[in-house]
């Protein structure tokens, strides 16, 4: 009898330890980045361009580039994703067409990020002659985050109670108006918080923009969507691996990592907090 409870204790300890280890891994990484990066962060660091062949100055063009790429990607992927999700949850019946779309979304979600980069290079950069630029990069990132946004939107739409739809339809309101006026506004906060998590993913990806948008250094800020840009993740990668001044730029690397992590996790954290707040407030 005792043996059974001893075994249980051993198992529970292992389970608790593994959860603790994961928490500590994230905590350790974040603490390490903050401790090493915080001294580099200053107003100049985030508002000035790099100088002296990247060894001094700030990272403003990279911050701006990442914002452009992310905003571009979301501007394309959010409407497309929400409409797809509405079709799948509100209109679609079972059938081969739906099964095809679902399989497509699942497979797209599993495509490696570097393959998205190859696709962007082959399609947008070469075939459509966009060249390496913001537009190519943003469209490539949009393809990458689309499954995330569809998933989040679907979940939000499914959580709208069926009675809302029935009440609206019973009043003689058409299906489209029911979706537009009742279902969508109810699901909107959920769609947005879920999509924010997709935004974080777009902002932090490196491989898809390596061949489609990112430049190691641009003398000027981008003037149009057909210009190359610097981007935070690519900046980190290049400074840490390919530069001729890997050791001299170490502090800039830490600073850039901190800015990127701050942006991505900051946005994620806001989404997670809003979501848990909303779940508690929900009255249905």
């Amino acid at each position: 009898m005792k043996w059974r409870y001893f075994r249980q204790q051993v198992f529970f300890t292992a389970v608790r330890l593994s959860a603790l280890l994961i928490v500590m891994a994230l905590g350790g990484i974040i603490v390490y980045i903050v401790v090493n990066g915080i001294s580099v962060i200053s107003w100049d660091f985030v508002t000035l361009p790099p100088t002296d062949s990247m060894t001094k100055g700030g990272i403003m063009p990279a911050i701006l580039g990442t914002l452009y790429l992310t905003i571009g990607a979301i501007a394309v992927a959010l409407p497309l994703g929400v409409v797809s999700a509405i079709y799948l949850t509100e209109y679609a019946k079972q059938g081969k067409f739906i099964r095809l779309i679902r399989t497509g979304i699942n497979c797209l979600a599993g495509v490696p990020s570097v393959v998205f980069g190859l696709f962007g290079l082959g399609f947008f950069v070469v075939y459509l002659h966009f060249g390496s630029c913001i537009l190519s990069g943003a469209l490539t990132l949009a393809a990458l985050v689309l499954p995330t946004i569809i998933g989040a939107s679907e979940e939000a739409l499914k959580s709208v109670p069926q009675t809302f739809r029935e009440a609206s339809l019973a009043l003689g309101i058409s299906k489209w108006q029911t979706i537009y006026k009742i279902v969508l506004p109810t699901a909107l906060p959920g769609i947005l918080t879920g999509s924010i998590l997709g935004i974080g993913r777009a902002a932090g990806e490196t491989a898809p923009i390596m061949f489609t948008a990112a430049a190691f250094f641009t003398a000027k800020l981008p003037g149009s969507i057909f210009d190359e840009v610097m981007a935070l993740p690519y900046h980190i990668y290049v400074l840490a691996t390919a530069g001729t001044h890997i050791e001299q730029t170490r502090s800039i690397q830490y600073g850039t990592v901190l800015v990127l992590v701050g942006l991505v996790l900051g946005v994620d954290l806001i989404a997670i907090i809003i979501r848990s707040y909303m779940r508690k407030k929900k009255r249905w």
Binding site: R7, Q8, F12, V15, S18, A19, I22, A25, L26, I29, Y32, L80, V83, S84, Y87, Y91, A92, F97, L100, I101, T103, G104, N106, C107, L108, G110, V111, P112, S113, V114, V115, F116, G117, L118, F119, G122, F123, V126, A143, L146, S174, R201, A203, G204, E205, T206, A207, F211, P233, I236, Y237, A240, T241, Q253, V257, L260, V261, V264, D268, S276
Partner: protein, 295 residues
């Protein structure tokens, strides 16, 4: 416009938009092949996949990606050794053991871990794990299989944990109650009832976690060391497929054999992850939990 016509029209437009994902997937396949297929005029598919020498810039070049495939498979398998137990056990913790207040926090933390950009983890592997390995084991370089596997495991854990947790959560309550009623301890209930009932979901989680690890680029690019040779020890450097594509695309002349070979590597990588995803999809469809009646 009649109301009915308008409704049909809207539905049609939505269907077209929803089809975008399938279209993108098709375009990915088309353009991988468009840029990759010309390679096979130079080398046969067998020589490409099983060739042991990857010297794309030599004259004459040799395009054999077997060492790259081995590199990918090895780091993926080793990362699973770490990620599967940690991911599944943490899922058990969240769904079965954790008090409600801690549960939400741990879930959020795992979600944040999933949000960490891969380049940041790669950087962490370079500046923290690599020097540590180098000093502890007295190695020429800390950028090797062990390092890449550890960092990849950190990337795969959130995927495995969150999908496993969904599967555990979906196990019907009656199973648990029946088990307790028979006098089983909580441990026995978890290990002999709940986990077996959720096994298909957990398998899906593991496969998707592996797919994530095999396709991950920045980590293996930054910390695997980059040697395109078949490794002999776990402290050897490797050059997994995604690392090779990302590192060499910048220097490969456009439209040349090297360029085509990198796209062809992309084809192999794409289909490897596709197979993982299809298996996962199949398992989750085939063994879908629809209630206690299915068992």
């Amino acid at each position: 416009m009649s109301r009915h016509l308008k409704e049909t029209l809207i539905k049609g437009i939505f269907a077209v938009f929803a089809f975008a994902s399938v279209l993108i997937l098709a375009l990915i396949v088309i353009f991988l092949f468009r840029e990759g297929i010309p390679l096979f005029k130079e080398v046969s598919a067998m020589d490409f996949i099983f060739g042991k020498e990857w010297y794309p810039t030599y004259d004459p070049p040799s395009y054999g990606i077997w060492p790259l495939i081995i590199g990918s498979v090895i780091v993926t398998l080793f990362s699973c050794l770490l990620a599967v137990p940690l991911g599944v056990l943490s899922a058990v913790y969240i769904s079965e053991i954790a008090p409600a207040s801690i549960k939400d926090i741990v879930k959020s933390i795992i979600e944040l871990l999933a949000g960490l950009p891969s380049v940041v983890l790669g950087f962490f592997g370079m500046v923290v794990v690599a020097p540590f390995l180098q000093e502890t084991f007295d190695l020429p370089t800390g950028l090797n299989i062990v390092n890449a596997s550890v960092i990849l495991a950190i990337m795969a854990i959130p995927t495995i944990s969150s999908i496993s947790e969904d599967a555990l959560y979906a196990v019907p309550r009656e199973f648990k109650e029946a088990s307790y009623a028979l006098g089983a301890t909580k441990y026995e209930t978890i290990v002999k009832v709940i986990v077996p009932a959720a096994l298909s979901g957990i398998s899906t989680a593991v496969i998707l976690g592996m797919a994530r690890a095999i396709g991950e680029t920045m980590v293996v690019l930054m910390v695997a060391g980059g040697a395109a040779a078949i490794p002999e020890s776990i402290f050897d450097s490797v050059r997994p497929m995604p690392a090779s594509i990302a590192a060499e695309m910048g220097e490969a002349p456009f439209g040349g054999g090297h360029y085509n070979a990198l796209f062809a590597t992309g084809i192999v990588l794409f289909f490897m992850t596709l197979i993982f995803n299809i298996i996962a999809d199949y398992i989750s469809q085939r063994f879908k939990e629809t209630g206690s009646a299915t068992l």
